[in-house]
C-alpha cells in the first residue's frame, strides 16, 4: 500500500515503491571470500511504499535495526535496492545516481568523515568544490552557516582538534552547503548538546523548511525533535512500514496521548512510565 500525498500539485521529492532491501549474512574466516557473492537472506526493508512531497519534512521513527539508516543510504545512492524502486527529484537512485547526488544533502550521523589534518574551513571548501560550487559561494555559505551554527571560532582549527559534537555540526553544515533540494539526515542531533540540538532544530524549522523548497527526510529517536520538525512520521518496524501520517493523526488513530505512546502501541512494545518499576 502506498501512502500518497493528498493534493500536491508538484511532483513528489521522494517516491518509494515496494522498496525492499536484503543483505547477505556477515561471514567470517575463509568464508569472507564468498561474502561478495553470498545470497541475501536478511531483510532490512520489506515493501516500503511512500511519497514525500516537496518542502515536506518526514521523520523515520523506529527501533534500532528497523531499517531507517538503510532507507536513507538507498536514497543517498550508497546502497542498491534488492527489489522495488526509490526515486528522488524524479531520478531513480539505482540508475541515475549522479543526478540524485546533485539534489541531496546527506548527513550520516557519524562523528567521522573529515580530514583530521585539515581545518574545518579547508574540509568544507574541499567538499564544496567537489559539489562544483564556486569558491566565492562556498566561502560565503561557510561564513554564514558557520556563524549560524556557532562554528566561527573553530572553523580554522584542524578537525582532529574538534569535539565530536563540533564535527557533527560541521557535517550538518556540509550537508546544507550546496542548498540541496532534499536533505537526508540520519540522527542529526545525536552528538549535540541540548542547546546546540535545539538551535539546529530551530534553524531547520525557520530557515530551511519554512522556505518550502527543501524536503527533509530524517531518522530520529528524539520525539521532541520529530514533533517539532516532522509534517508526517513514518513508523518502521523490522523493515516494514507500520504507519505513515501526521503526528496528530498517529496519536488519534492509536488513542495515545503522545507520539511515544503511539509508537509503542503500533510496534507492540511496552512503554514504561516514570516511577514504574522495570522488569528484572
Amino acid at each position: 500500500m502506498r501512502h500518497a500525498i493528498n493534493s500536491g500539485v508538484s511532483d513528489p521529492a521522494i517516491i518509494l515503491d515496494s522498496l525492499e532491501k536484503w543483505f547477505p549474512p556477515a561471514l567470517s574466516g575463509w568464508r569472507t571470500y564468498i561474502q561478495p557473492f553470498a545470497a541475501p537472506t536478511s531483510p532490512a526493508l520489506r515493501g516500503i511504499s511512500l511519497e514525500v512531497k516537496q518542502g515536506e519534512a518526514v521523520a523515520l521513527l523506529g527501533a534500532n535495526g528497523a531499517g531507517k539508516t538503510t532507507l536513507l543510504r538507498i536514497l543517498a545512492t550508497l546502497l542498491l535496492p534488492t527489489r522495488g524502486t526509490a526515486s528522488l527529484a524524479g531520478h531513480d537512485t539505482a540508475r541515475e545516481s549522479a543526478a540524485v547526488r546533485r539534489q541531496i544533502g546527506y548527513h550520516a550521523g557519524s562523528d567521522l568523515g573529515f580530514y583530521a589534518r585539515l581545518t574545518g574551513r579547508q574540509n568544507l571548501t574541499f567538499f564544496g568544490r567537489l559539489n562544483h560550487l564556486s569558491d566565492d559561494f562556498t566561502a560565503s555559505r561557510i561564513e554564514t552557516l558557520g556563524e549560524r551554527f556557532g562554528l566561527s571560532r573553530v572553523l580554522d582549527r584542524q578537525a582532529r582538534a574538534l569535539s565530536s559534537g563540533t564535527i557533527q555540526r560541521l557535517s550538518l553544515l556540509r550537508a546544507l552547503l550546496h542548498q540541496p533540494k532534499v536533505l537526508l539526515l540520519d540522527e542529526p542531533t545525536r552528538s549535540l548538546d541540548a542547546i546546540a540540538a535545539a538551535d539546529f532544530r530551530h534553524f531547520l524549522k525557520t530557515e530551511v523548511l519554512a522556505r518550502k523548497d527543501t524536503s527533509l527526510l530524517f531518522a530520529s529517536h528524539t520525539m521532541q525533535e520529530i514533533e517539532l520538525l516532522a509534517d508526517r512520521v513514518a513508523i518502521l518496524d523490522d523493515g516494514k512500514l507500520l504507519a505513515f501520517d501526521t503526528p496528530t493523526a498517529l496519536r488519534a488513530k492509536t488513542l495515545s496521548s503522545s507520539l511515544e505512546e503511539a509508537f509503542a502501541r503500533l510496534t507492540g512494545r511496552r512503554l514504561y512510565s516514570a516511577g514504574e518499576s522495570t522488569p528484572e
Binding site: P36, A44, R101, I104, L118, F126, L130, R174
Partner: protein, 271 residues
Amino acid sequence: MRQILRDILLFFERDLRIASTYRSPFILEAVEALFGAAMFYYVARFVDSPALRDALPQGKTYFAYSLAGFVFFDYLNAALDTFDRSLQEARDAGTLEPLLVTQVSLPVILIGSAFYPFAATTLRIAVYLGWAALLFDFPLHAANWLAVFAVLLATLLAFSGLGVLSAAYLLLFKRGNPAKWFILGVSSVAGGMLFPVTILPPWLQVVAHLNPVTYAMDAMRGALLDGAGILTLGHPLLLLLAFAAVLLPSSVVIFSWSLRRTKVTGTLTHR
C-alpha cells in the same frame, strides 16, 4: 573533461595541504634518500668484480645498474599500491561515504587520490638520483629525460590497471593486495631489478621474458643510463602501452562491477 581534470586537481591540492602539515617527513625522506643512495654505492663497491662487470650490460657499473632498477621499482610499487591505499585510507577515516555523495564519481576520486602519491614518488626519486649524481658519480648526464618520462608514463599506465584491480579486490574482500604481491614478488626475482635475468636458470628466464616488468626495466635503464631515445625504445614502450590498453579498460569494468556489488551487499564502507 575539463571538470574531471579540475576534480582530479582538487584531490592533489587536498593531499598537498595534508602533507604540508607534516613538515619533518620531507626532510627525513631527503636524508633517507641520501642513506639509500650511499647504501647502493657501497654495496656496489663491495661486490664489484670482473665477473660481475662481464655479466652486466656493456659499460655499466653495478651501482648505476642497481639504482636504476630500484628507481623503477619505486614507481612500479606506486602504480600497484596507490589506488587501494587511497581507498583504504578514505574508508578508515570515514571520508569515503561523504566523498561518494558528492558530484564526483569513485573512479575520479581514485585517480585524483593517486596523483599526489605519484608526484611524491617522482620527487623522492629525483632526490635519490640527485644525491647519487652529486656524491657518488651516478651518470645522470647520459640520461635521455624525454625517454625516461615516456617509460615512466607507460609504466604507470600499464601497471595502474593492476592497481585498480587491487582496489576492486579491496572493495570486495576488505584486505590485501594480491596484484602487488604477485607482480613485485615475481619481478624482484625475475624482473631484473638488482641483477640481469641472464644469470637465472632457464625456466626462470622464461618467466622473466613473459614478465612485462623485465621489458620496462630494460627500457628504463636504456633511457636513464644509455641515453636511448623514444624510437630506440619503441618495442618495450609499445609492449607497455598494449598491456595498458588491455588492462586499464578491463580493470575499470571489474572495479565498476565490484563497486556495484558492494552497494548490493552493503559492505561499501565496511572495514
